[in-house]
Each structure stands twice: as structure tokens, then as C-alpha cells.
């Protein structure tokens, strides 16, 4: 081989090897579950009324939360959570800038965002949980949590890329809390409480595929044109909400982010302004962590082989040196006796 060819080949190999290595260390991304259901949240339709928050508390039988520094006005039955918590599964937050003169505008504007579990297609919490307390339904894809199994390690809290699961640190018997898309209501033929009460259709429940099509319809419409927005559940016979089409960011958040999510977002301001991570891969992080683990522990062949080698070497080396080895040579007498003997010897 000529020197130049050799260099070329080496360079090609060097370029290809890491890519191949990376691929070998990745597990296949998970597909969308066959009967995936979820939610489309349209920030441009949200008016920040927080009816969804109060409905969520009622549907999930959660206590109101009050600001710790709240004054007299804050002593009633008002629910004033600042963030998601083990007893607040859903919260409306606002992006604000400057004079806040206009909705859905970055400069001197504001926008709403609804924060709760996104029910990832490839959820980190499910992959992280050591005891199967986090569970993704194989059909609907909803991610639920079973406190009776949970050991409270908080690895789900630590690993969630959206900061959703929360733990109660002020309770000796604290537990993890997060949105489970009202699976108890779905079981009775209902829909998630937040979508049920949303007056504008900003929170819309339904099959993920239909929601994606609905999102594309909105993205395709010219800003300002009048559009009919379904309310509650997509395809239901509820009266629609008629409004001017928002000035959308031309992207459906959750369509590809981190392997896709079953709760998806449309918004008028960039998604990172709403606290949604945008600089993320198109695969969930479990593809990397599980890929790594599955490669190292495939069929336990690696560890078994390693153990075999270690047993062989340990046995051989111990036999060679047994006489010298403190783990094997019994000094054969009580330490006190040994000390006495030494005294006598000296």
C-alpha cells in the first residue's frame, strides 16, 4: 500500500470509528405506542385563566398550596402554587418581557405555557426507575407512577429532561407526584380534567396522530385568519372556539424532541422562552444510557467472561503465593500467644 493510501485509509477509519462506536452504544429509539393518546397545548389560545389548574386539583384530589410568605389575603382557600410539586401536577406559567404590551411577542410581550408531564415516547424516568414504579403503558403510552413500589430514590426527578416529577421533602413518608393524564378519568370514559374545562381549546385531548394533524392544520393557516378550534377532545361534538390564527413558531414541539412526546406544544414565542429545552437530540437519553448498559452487559456475556478469567487468574495466583498470603496463611495462634512467643524469642 502506498503511503498516501495508507494515510487516507487511516483517516477514513478514524472518522468512521467513533460514529460506528456511537451507533453501537445506542439502543434503537422507541416507536410511538400503537394507541398513543396525548395532548396538544396551544400557547396562543391560552388565556391564562388557570381553570385547568383548579380542575386538576379537584380531579386528582390534591390540596391547595399557598405561598410560604403569603399575607392575610393568602389564608383562604386560594391555591397559589409557584411551581409543580407533589401536590400540583399542572401549572400555568407566564413568559414576560419589558412592558408586556402584547401577547405572544418576545419583545415587550408575554405568553403562557402549561407545565406538566409530557408523557415521552422514550421516557427517562421509566428507564431510570430501579423498581418499575414508573410505568409506560404499552398501548396508550401514558406514563404513570405507583407509589406502593417506589423506594423514593428520586432518580426520576434527577433524570427527567423536563423537570416534571416532584418529591415531597417535607413529609417523612413523602412520595413522587406528577401528571398521569387523568388515567382514572380515562378509565371511566372521560377525558383529562384540564382539557375538559379549557374554555378556548388551548388544552386539547386526543389520539397523538390526530393531534399532530390538527397542529399541522394550524401551522398551515395564515396568521390572523379565522379558524375553528376544537375543545375538550379532538373529534368530539362540543362547540368549537372560533378565533384568529396565532402567529406560530413553525414547529410542533414534541414532534421529534428527545424521541418525541405525547404532549405537544404550539406557541407564538420560541419554545426555550417557555422553559422547554430546544437544544436537544431527536432521540431520548435512554437510547444512550441503555445502549451503553446493554452493550456492556449483553446477555451478561461480558461479566460472565470476565468472571471466568478472574476466577482462573485468582486461583492460579493464589496457589503460587499461598504461603505468603495473609488471607490464606493462618497464623495459627491467638494474637496474644503470638505476642508472647515473640517476646520469648527476642
Amino acid at each position: 500500500m502506498k503511503r498516501r493510501d495508507f494515510l487516507k485509509a487511516t483517516a477514513a477509519l478514524a472518522a468512521a470509528a467513533p460514529a460506528a462506536g456511537q451507533a453501537a452504544l445506542m439502543r434503537e429509539p422507541k416507536p410511538m405506542p400503537p394507541q398513543a393518546i396525548g395532548m396538544l397545548y396551544d400557547s396562543t389560545l391560552c388565556i391564562g385563566c388557570k381553570a385547568c389548574m383548579s380542575a386538576c386539583k379537584e380531579a386528582n384530589d390534591l390540596p391547595p398550596e399557598r405561598l410560604p410568605e403569603g399575607g392575610e389575603w393568602n389564608t383562604g382557600t386560594w391555591d397559589t402554587p409557584l411551581d409543580l410539586s407533589p401536590t400540583t401536577y399542572n401549572i400555568i406559567k407566564a413568559y414576560v418581557n419589558g412592558t408586556r404590551a402584547e401577547k405572544d411577542r418576545v419583545e415587550d410581550g408575554y405568553a403562557f405555557v402549561k407545565r406538566h408531564c409530557l408523557h415521552c415516547v422514550d421516557p427517562s424516568c421509566v428507564s431510570a426507575c430501579p423498581v418499575s414504579a414508573m410505568h409506560k403503558d404499552p398501548l396508550t403510552g401514558l406514563v404513570s407512577h405507583d407509589p406502593s413500589l417506589c423506594i423514593g430514590c428520586r432518580y426520576c426527578v434527577y433524570s427527567c429532561p423536563f423537570g416534571v416529577p416532584r418529591y415531597n421533602y417535607d413529609d417523612p413518608f413523602g412520595q413522587i407526584g406528577k401528571c398521569q393524564l387523568c388515567s382514572h378519568l380515562l378509565a371511566e370514559g372521560g377525558i383529562p380534567a384540564c382539557c375538559d374545562v379549557c374554555p378556548t381549546g388551548a388544552s386539547l385531548f386526543g389520539p397523538v396522530e390526530q393531534l399532530k394533524a390538527e397542529a399541522q392544520r394550524r401551522l398551515a393557516a395564515a396568521p390572523g385568519t379565522e379558524l375553528e378550534f376544537p375543545r375538550g377532545e379532538i373529534g368530539s361534538d362540543r362547540p368549537t372556539h372560533v378565533a384568529a390564527t396565532g402567529n406560530y413558531q413553525q414547529h410542533l414541539y414534541g414532534d421529534r424532541e428527545l424521541g418525541g412526546t405525547q404532549v405537544m406544544y404550539l406557541a407564538g414565542v420560541p419554545f426555550d422562552k417557555l422553559g422547554l429545552p430546544t437544544d436537544v437530540p431527536d432521540v431520548g437519553y435512554p437510547t444512550l444510557s441503555e445502549g451503553l448498559q446493554h452493550t456492556l452487559y449483553k446477555g451478561m456475556a461480558g461479566p460472565a467472561l470476565l468472571l471466568g478469567g478472574l476466577v482462573f487468574l485468582a486461583r492460579r495466583n493464589i496457589k503460587r503465593n499461598q504461603a505468603d498470603d495473609p488471607l490464606f496463611t493462618d497464623e495459627g495462634m491467638e494474637p496474644d500467644a503470638a505476642a508472647k512467643k515473640e517476646e520469648k524469642d527476642s
Binding site: S124, I151, P161, Y167, N168, S289, Q293, A314, N317, E334
Partner: protein, 379 residues
């Protein structure tokens, strides 16, 4: 009598250091009572932005790395067949025994729903995709292995020669397991943060974390041997083992070189080294961590260190600090919670509990070396 007879150091058990350590341990236990009555928040500064604090990162991630002395020395003695290190096997295994057992206990008070902990060991709840599940099983297994590995010392002390003889015949399997299990879970402590993705700075987030955690754990386990040897020599008025430690340092150098090659090779390949010059806390902590790794190894590389106990000790402390920082940085400093302004700095009670855990380790060390044949006699 064997060439490296071991004997209890003897001496009074209740000394001033003993009482101070017992006092610190008592404070920790009192504070822990608060944790079990009022919840984790009453004692710690943990929050949903920082759900893992020093009870996980120092007591477990760093504590078990300190506990790698037995692993690293077993690896050298039994797998690489370097019999000359036999005199330090027992004390190294004992360091691991305490490091791991205490870490295992520390898990219990950090778990929010500790009464469910046994679900980790029920096959029908097992979640093999979880790195933590693998770590939990491996660590539990390794604690068992360590107690068996250390059992000869007990059996010898209490004159149970028959049992000891029987144990000797199967000990090679236990020793092999004692090398396999830490290889698995020390690397997994690195894999555990891969799933955090963009929440960990590119200075630490890489698919090479398992290899980096494994090599740095061996490095720390090895560095702990001269560290402990010098402290034992000073504290218990024993002879310095400078010659033996000098030879051990060469092994430390090789492991350290491997770690640095992977660490910087990976950073260069991913083009992440630029983050090191950002001038923020993360970048500076990275520079400090790297400086300590390189400085500690450079100190060892100097011929003088091979002979000077002082240089060996300083190099060991530098490398241990580097390993500690690498772990704190990758789990805590290099980690950024999603959304909102989260802060975490351990509370005083939280730190006192960690101090208490390490006090118990030193306390047990003193009791064990005084009462059991752990340290080699200098004939």
C-alpha cells in the same frame, strides 16, 4: 509463621480521638432522627432541582470510590499476581469493608421511601434498564463479598481454624467476585449520569463516563493505600512502608495516565474543551480538577516521590481530592436543573451527618486494627 504476620496493634481503645469520633457519630444519629420524623427537607437542603445531594454524592459515590482500596489491591495482587503487596491486602480490604458498608447504610436514610427498599431485590419489580438497579444489586453483592473476604481475620482472631481452612478453599471465587462487582458498579456510577443528557455540562457528559469512573475509582483506591499507610504510621506509631508504597506509585502512575488519556482524548474528540475557558464556576472547577489530577501524577512521577513518605502522602491527597472533585463536578457542579432558579448547598445538619458517617468509618478502623490482626507486623 508466614512472612507477613499480622497482629492487632493493641493499646487502649477509648482514647481522645475515639471519643471525638463517637461524639460526631452521635450528633449524626440525633440529626437522622429528625430526618425520619420530619422528612428529608427538615435536615437537608435537597429540592426538586437538586434531588441528589451530598448524602448520595459524598457518602455513596465518593465513599465507595474510597472503598476501592480493597478492589484495587486485590486486582494487583490476585489478578496481576504482584505478591509483594500482600502485607497491605488486609488493611485495604478493611477500608473497602467500611467504605461500602457505611455507603449501604447511608442509602437507607437518603431513600425517601426506605421501607420499600427490598423491592430492589424482588425479581418481578426488577428494572434492568435502570443503571441504579444494577448499582444497587452490585453494591449489595459486594458488601457481602467483602465481609466474607475479611472473615479470615475474625476467624483467626477467635481461633476458628477449621472454618478458616474451609473458607480458604473457596476464597478464590470470592476474590474473583470481589474484583468483578466493583468493576461493574464503579463504572455504572459513571453511566448513571448519561441519562441526564443536557442537564450535565459537556465537560463531564460523555459516553466514556463508565471508563472514566472505573479508572478514577482504581486510582482513588490505590491512592488511599499510601494515604492510610502514612496516617497509620503517624497515628499508631508504626514504621513507614515507604519502599512498598514507592513501587505502588508506579501502578498509580499507569492508571492515572490511562484516565487522563481517556479524559482529554474524549474532550478533544467531542470538541468540548472550549467550555473549559468559559470562566464560570463550571469551567474553573474543571480546571481545578484537572490541575489536581495532573499535579498529583506529576508529583509521583518525580523520582523523589518514590522514596519520600511526605511526597507520597501529598501526591496521594492530591489525587484523592482530584477524584472527589471529578465526582462532585459530574454529579453536582456540572449539573444544571431544568427551569427555575434552583440552589443547592448542603445544610449544616446535612454535612454533619456525612461527617458522622466518615467518623464511624475511622472509629471502626481504630477498633479493628487494635483488636484484630489487620496490620502487618514489622519483624
Amino acid at each position: 509463621m508466614s512472612a507477613h504476620a499480622h497482629a492487632p496493634v493493641g493499646g487502649r481503645l477509648v482514647t481522645v480521638p475515639f471519643l471525638v469520633l463517637a461524639f460526631l457519630a452521635a450528633i449524626a444519629l440525633a440529626l437522622l432522627a429528625g430526618r425520619f420524623v420530619y422528612g428529608l427537607g427538615a435536615v437537608t437542603n435537597l429540592n426538586d432541582g437538586y434531588p441528589w445531594g451530598i448524602w448520595v454524592i459524598i457518602d455513596i459515590v465518593i465513599g465507595t470510590a474510597f472503598g476501592c482500596a480493597g478492589y484495587a489491591v486485590s486486582l494487583i495482587v490476585y489478578i496481576l499476581n504482584r505478591g509483594e503487596y500482600h502485607p497491605i491486602v488486609r488493611s485495604a480490604v478493611m477500608a473497602s469493608l467500611f467504605g461500602y458498608t457505611l455507603a449501604g447504610i447511608a442509602v437507607m436514610f437518603d431513600l425517601g421511601r426506605y421501607w420499600n427498599f427490598y423491592n430492589l431485590f424482588l425479581p418481578w419489580y426488577a428494572q434492568p434498564n435502570s443503571v441504579m438497579w444494577e448499582i444497587a444489586l452490585c453494591v449489595a453483592g459486594y458488601i457481602t463479598v467483602l465481609w466474607i473476604e475479611f472473615a479470615p481475620t475474625f476467624l483467626e482472631r477467635f481461633g476458628l481454624h477449621n472454618a478458616r481452612e474451609k473458607l480458604s478453599r473457596v476464597l478464590f471465587i470470592i476474590i474473583a467476585l470481589g474484583v468483578l462487582l466493583p468493576t461493574m458498579h464503579q463504572s455504572s456510577l459513571g453511566s448513571a449520569i448519561v441519562i441526564l443528557g443536557h442537564k450535565v455540562s459537556p465537560l463531564w457528559q460523555t459516553q466514556f463516563l463508565p471508563l472514566l469512573y472505573l479508572s478514577s475509582a482504581i486510582l482513588m483506591g490505590l491512592a488511599l493505600v499510601p494515604f492510610e499507610s502514612v496516617l497509620a504510621a503517624l497515628g499508631l506509631r508504626r514504621q513507614l512502608e515507604t519502599g512498598l508504597m514507592g513501587r505502588l506509585n508506579r501502578v498509580i502512575l499507569v492508571v492515572g495516565a490511562i484516565f487522563l488519556a481517556v479524559r482529554f482524548g474524549d474532550l478533544l474528540f467531542r470538541g468540548a474543551l472550549g467550555h473549559a475557558l468559559a470562566g464560570d464556576l463550571r469551567a474553573n472547577m474543571f480546571l481545578l480538577e484537572s490541575a489536581l489530577f495532573i499535579g498529583g501524577l506529576a508529583l509521583l512521577a518525580r523520582q523523589q516521590a518514590q522514596r519520600s513518605a511526605r511526597a507520597q502522602f501529598i501526591a496521594a491527597v492530591t489525587l484523592l481530592t482530584a477524584g472527589i472533585l471529578f465526582r462532585i463536578n459530574s454529579y453536582l457542579v456540572g449539573y444544571e436543573p431544568v427551569n427555575g432558579t434552583w440552589h443547592y448547598f448542603p445544610s449544616v445538619p446535612e454535612m454533619l451527618v456525612t461527617v458522622g458517617v466518615f467518623s464511624i468509618e475511622i472509629l471502626l478502623y481504630l477498633v479493628f486494627v487494635k483488636k484484630l490482626p489487620v496490620l502487618a507486623k514489622h519483624a
